[in-house]
Symmetry: C2
Subunit: 229 residues, 2 copies
């Protein structure tokens, strides 16, 4: 094992440190945030920080750096209170990455990278036509993170649009089927291969595999020991 102690971290060249630290959280979600300003100028930006906050009410969070890319997204969200989240798939991952270039405010990344803006179900922010799982979000709160001048954006999900073939019987969305990608570090993109869904863990018995529709299938083969409670 290689160890970096506190002093080592302080002394790393800054781009090396950025790549290293960005790799630590594990696989990250790949989403395009669609927004528009009060004049209807569209914006699209890839983010890797969308995180589930809760199901009832349905909330998500994401981190933004107002003084960095995607700064136009941040100003649009605060101006209109609305944005869309569009999962990135293996069909358009390079175009999604290209949205991170520093385009001018009056330019629409939709046009520049070749993705389609679409408006759905009376929601006043642009969705990505190519995305197979997308939802409209209303801004609820912004928490300033003083430690590094970032902002934690909290939004409530207003409507969901998803490819029929991803929706499973118990509400689980099979995002592997629609080839949603994952990000590692700053710039690496990955498709996935499912190990299994697992049953809800209880103290007194080992977990078992679930089918894609959430039905119990085979119990485990004893690869790890569960001490009886």
């Amino acid at each position: 094992m290689k160890t970096f102690e506190h002093d080592d971290l302080n002394n790393l060249e800054h781009r090396y440190r950025a790549r290293l630290i960005n790799s630590l959280s594990g696989f990250k979600s790949a989403n395009l945030i669609g927004s528009q300003d009060a004049d209807g100028q569209l914006n699209l930006a890839i983010v890797s920080s969308v995180v589930h906050l809760g199901a009832n009410p349905p909330l998500i969070g994401l981190i933004m750096r107002p003084n960095s890319v995607p700064r136009h997204t941040f100003s649009n969200i605060t101006e209109t209170g609305l944005f869309t989240v569009n999962q990135v798939s293996a069909e358009f991952w390079q175009a999604a990455h290209q949205t991170s270039a520093r385009y001018a405010q009056e330019q629409s990344e939709f046009d520049l990278v070749g993705l389609s803006a679409e408006f759905l179900a009376d929601f006043d922010a642009p969705f990505v036509g190519e995305s197979q799982l997308k939802y409209g979000v209303k801004l609820i709160d912004i928490k300033p993170i003083e430690a590094n001048n970032t902002e934690f954006i909290i939004g409530e999900i207003q409507q969901i649009h998803v490819a029929e073939n991803a929706l499973r019987a118990d509400g689980y969305l099979d995002i592997e089927t629609i080839e949603t990608v994952a990000i590692s570090g700053l710039d690496s993109y990955h498709v996935t291969q499912r190990l299994s869904r697992l049953s809800y863990a209880k103290p007194d018995k080992p977990v078992s595999n679930l089918t894609l529709d959430g039905q119990q299938s085979a119990p485990f083969d004893g690869q790890f020991a569960i001490v009886e409670n």
Copy 2:
């Protein structure tokens, strides 16, 4: 496409909604949080909400529900100010999932699920011996999220321990090589297959593939159009 409008979401059966909403953020990181209380009672809990906050200072965040699992982790972190983050790999993903069972405070999930507690480099919280990428974190701040009574925990990375074969020349950690898993929904686990690393995006040229060590390799084949700036 299947659409869920606002009223549809409100009317979903609660477990169905939990599975649906938990699937929206995309692939999530799989990490075990190691902690101990003031008496040295160890705790280990899987979380899927660890998110990168910034590289300088090196910060991560995670969401916790103090009134739910992993409540012991939350109380340990507030009590001691320290915890570890340990990436979950394909070698022990089922054991990691099993830590989400509601064990009693006086029980150590390390023992119960069969993972090894180890103490490294004078850091006063337990690491997972089996994990190939793990780091010690100091609590910096807690932001209450009033919208659903969760807490956003902010921590500074103090030390990193990583398998030598994952560390690439430019600081990127190849977490696919060490078989770090990703989570989708509440209970699905996935390994990954890299598409590519991509070059830093600039407005006036298409992105290109990078090697694992961050070197420029082939430019793109024109799958998507970049309009000149």
